[in-house]
Symmetry: C3
Subunit: 466 residues, 3 copies
């Protein structure tokens, strides 16, 4: 890199190349990495206890004893298990001043009190330990299908050593991301063991809501007719009841997404500053809003399809046909009711438009789309269009309710119809938002978010932007 | 970075690290940036008027007077408002030769005649001014959620200074993009204030078309029955009429997308070269084709759902049921008409296939998908599949029309049915395209696009590719 | 870049800048690249036979003879056709030690025995040839719309020279990707001529299956009634039969995706190692699983819409209405059958859920989404959710079949109903998977995939991860 950008005295650089990387350990990952390095023009030297069993070593690489191999390169990849690290202390002299790349992973999270990289740095204080490559899969390196793991999280206390390792990652076609000092090693070692940590809480909330609403609907739609009229409506469990649960949970989740921001604004208003931290639960809530929103979108999607298949379902067709038969037998034809036509079309149209804007918001949640817009645009879509979605969905539910109230829907066992449940939080959120966008409060929040503090002492060099 | 790639003489580099960055101003963005720099292993020195009010400064950073702070680092981030820039002239001596990073934003576009960065460069001619970081949100830096603003647009007259700043951006996990000299500063300062500038014209065109077609349909479907038959068909406004407007506008927009390319080809044919610039309106039109296409896709999506909900709507069910009743009373049963079965299924199938290919084209518009294919593949999808979509959609409308012509659809008030409007531009585009792909013209266009000119003088070293 | 990261002695770097790039050839791509370089702060010198015809050269660039121009820069972009390369041998002296950037493309794949870059390196053994920029379109460079071609594939034998060229690519806002030594040049030169090479085999498989299943359905649903009952059911060709073909082919393709992995596991189990290569056909199959899966998703999407439009189709409405009429005339009303209600709703619900999870798996196939998750998460979605999709879809078909078996569906001409065909491979895959996840086999496979070999000799430094 150094001689390259001002690459005019290109003479004399032959002495440096080809760069040599040493790998300790001929395990699976060591070999995969070695092969990839060879393919990208590096010289590779393997250090192992049995340098002669070179059958394991990729073609083109040297196989030497640990000491010999270490002498050949300034960068040594430690591709061995943490349990075997202690033998490296014997090599302390030859390793002194070298860059050691710790690529190890554990079998479970927080398996050891300190990270493998920090443990290594403790064993060999004379070395520059860099944590890297543990997030990359050996199989992906071999097969070249690096779909999921092109990112190499790197950390280390020595900036130059870190940069040298990042440079290697870059030349392998990977994307190194500097994560700071070796303190980050623990997090980096946990990373490949994570399974959607940000999704855990949203999924839990969603599951609890789903079960509760499902049971509520079960009582009203299956148990009640069974108890009072000896009717078996159990077939409603398959589609009809899920199609009540999905929209209700979806609307509640969407409202919860925006509730977090409103609570944050109220706290900031109350405290008069944005520099004191939010309570922990609110921080977590704020950080998983995207996931909550996407779950709400998934449920909205299911609601849309469950609704569209209605006319195909045997039960629905039977019910419609039955209704027509009754009408025929009573020999009455009802004229078209303008009122019903308006009502039914309005709630359908509101639902479609709400879903449409929800999909648009969802698309901007895709990383590549989000990266292509500026901050103001991202905010516009996520906040303005998000609220529009919430307003449309709430209106959809309200008009649907209006439609239902007309028919004599008795409160079965004194329980309100299920859609009423879905309206509580959204209506509260919208009311709260309506209060907070009133000019007096809105301006105050804006000022706070631009760095203003109620008892601010600084007048000079104030804030620049949000 | 410097010693890293040939990182063999790793000794003696301790003297260089840790790198120090100086920040003038303890405002919101200054503090956020300082904190982030500290986290990424930099030393940070704040320069402020009241160096003792260090409570504002992130833990771990030094707080000094402006002069003292400036001496500590070769890079000084100017995190103060443009209005306060003049006090920097007093520090001209100490700032001489340093890299000044202008991170300021304005409150509105083109607020000042020259950009803040150029103004700063004018005040301090001895400094190397680099514009950067203004596109990053302080909040995003703090919270680590850099979804929308990972890109750092950088510009400056001094290449090394610019590279130094880009290096810092990279080590903060951001993506620096070199935008050239300080002339680009104005654009970079306007960037965060933009709200979908490329979408403005397409949205405007789309809105105008939507309103016009809506009014046209309103006249035909609501005013006409009201005037001639005293019928109240106002309920059609909610779904039926939008479901005419959406497909019509969608098809027109899609045709407009491809019309731009055809006009460009004709101009190139006429001029016999591709090196003279297109008229301004065509340039703009060409550049917003993607947005026009995505709006067309959005309308097609809405058309699809508005159509699929038909059987659920009260009005539609009433109409179908009514029709059946009439049939019953007249005691006639119509046998299945093979002709109608073909016609109805054909236009539905054409619509579905058109929509399907439209969605495929839309998916390749996602930045990450577009980046994963080569130029030829991108062209294939956007051009070939795009035209297939246009052909299928036009055929869909024509067959639909065919279906309608059979019923005695009188021209109400001498106005043609609304779908006829949607066919004019698409048919013209397809006819034009058909002419232009005739071998004689097609070959000529190909040659022109490869750099050939009608009165070309160069024979040596001709063009290499399109 | 060099002095920048330790950018404290910023003095004395004025001597190096601005960097100069020389371009041989004033063709289309040469001029576009030159203009872009100028915009990004480089000095550009064009070398051509007629240095005076500078009208072709972008404003701000110098135009000199080849020899003069070559002397000005260490990096020379060879923007001329391969056919003219031989004249460069005359300049061998002046070009000695320089970096030559070969940007040429061919008109068809593998046009010449060796790549253009290797040919150039052979002509001028004293030069450092780097292949780059051929994947970038001149038009995209000019217009700035680099949607599809931001990636610059780079290869070369000299690491420093390569890095210098990658540096230039980076400063033009492009993304250089190191592809190794000059051996990769052939592949890089073929790259822009590729048209979805990974999609070829999947599309072929999909097309063959589609045609076969279509013909099978045609026999059963059109030829059989025509032959036995003289009934014309040809209108079924438009939607009804495609809507049988789509789900059948989709399910088979989805099963084929997972069959590859199962066969690979069986081979690994049998061989007792993962280090011997798979047979070629299996390798290819493994590599195009993503494409097969996406085709299956596309067909599932079409199946979903073709099903949802059912109630809108004239034929379906006629059939339903006809059925109702018959019922009326016979004066019978059938009560709601709980059994049918369960059956019909169950298969619809299974289909919807299967489609839903399929869409989720499809979304993680987007490059930007796949990049944002770690390896374990990617595997979870692609493997666990993928199998869930397969199970749900197979169950959907089985329950649908169950529904059909009830009606007296005679085996027409001894042919089983078409859906039976779709069940063979999925059921086989699920049965095989069920066997392979039994603990004894599963543990063995896990061990093998972590690098264990049946006759393993290494005990030290074993594998680190999958």
């Amino acid at each position: 890199m150094n001689d390259s950008s001002n690459c005019f005295p290109l003479q004399g650089m032959e002495s440096v190349k080809p760069k040599t990387v040493c790998i300790f350990g001929t395990g699976d990952f060591g070999r995969s990495l070695g092969l990839k390095l060879l393919q990208c023009g590096y010289s590779v030297v393997f250090g192992s206890r049995n340098p002669n069993s070179s059958s394991l070593v990729p073609k083109g690489a040297e196989s030497l004893s640990h000491t010999e191999a270490a002498k050949k390169s300034a960068i040594i990849v430690i591709a061995i298990h943490r349990e075997h690290y202690d033998f490296l202390t014997d090599l302390a002299d030859v390793l002194k001043g070298k860059v050691l790349v710790d690529i190890s992973n554990n079998l479970k999270m927080n398996q050891y009190p300190e990270s493998n990289a920090e443990y290594l740095a403790g064993l060999l204080p004379g070395c520059k330990v860099v944590k890297a490559f543990n997030t990359v899969s050996a199989w992906a390196l071999q097969s070249g299908t690096l779909d999921a793991s092109r990112q190499v999280l790197v950390c280390g206390n020595d900036a130059e050593a870190k940069e040298a390792v990042m440079e290697i990652a870059r030349s392998l076609g990977l994307t190194p991301l500097d994560q700071g000092t070796l303190l980050a090693a623990k997090e980096i070692e946990n990373y490949p063991l994570q399974l959607f940590p940000m999704w855990r809480m949203p999924c839990y909330v969603c599951a609890v809501l789903t079960v509760l609403i499902f049971l509520y609907c079960l009582v009203i739609e299956v148990f009640y007719p069974a108890a009072t009229r000896k009717e078996d409506t159990s077939y409603l469990i398959v589609i009809t009841i899920p199609n009540r649960v999905f929209p209700i949970v979806s609307l509640i989740l969407l409202a919860i997404v925006y509730l977090a921001g409103l609570i944050a604004a109220i706290i900031q208003l109350y405290r008069g500053t944005k520099y004191s931290r939010f309570p922990d639960w609110l921080d977590k809530w704020m950080l998983c809003r995207k996931q909550l929103g996407l779950l709400a979108l998934a449920y909205a999607f299911l609601h849309a399809i469950y609704t569209l298949v209605m006319p195909i379902r045997y039960y629905v067709r039977w019910a419609w046909s039955n209704y027509q038969m009754t009408q025929l037998k009573s020999n009455e034809t009802y004229p078209l009711s303008n009122y019903y036509a308006w009502l039914s079309d309005t709630y359908v149209a509101l639902g479609i438009l709400g879903f449409f804007f929800f999909v648009v918001v969802g698309i901007t949640s895709l990383p590549s789309v989000g990266n292509a817009v500026n901050w103001r645009e991202f905010n516009f879509v996520q906040s303005k269009l998000g609220y529009l979605t919430l307003v449309l969905s709430t209106a959809h539910t309200l008009v649907y309710g209006g439609d239902r109230f007309i028919y004599p829907t008795f409160y079965r066992w004194y329980l309100p119809p299920s859609f009423v449940l879905s309206l509580i939080i959204p209506c509260a959120v919208l009311a709260l938002k309506f209060i907070l966008i009133m000019p007096c409060l809105d301006q105050r929040i804006m000022k706070i978010r631009q760095g203003w503090e109620r008892k601010s002492k600084i007048t000079n060099s104030s804030s620049l932007k949000i």
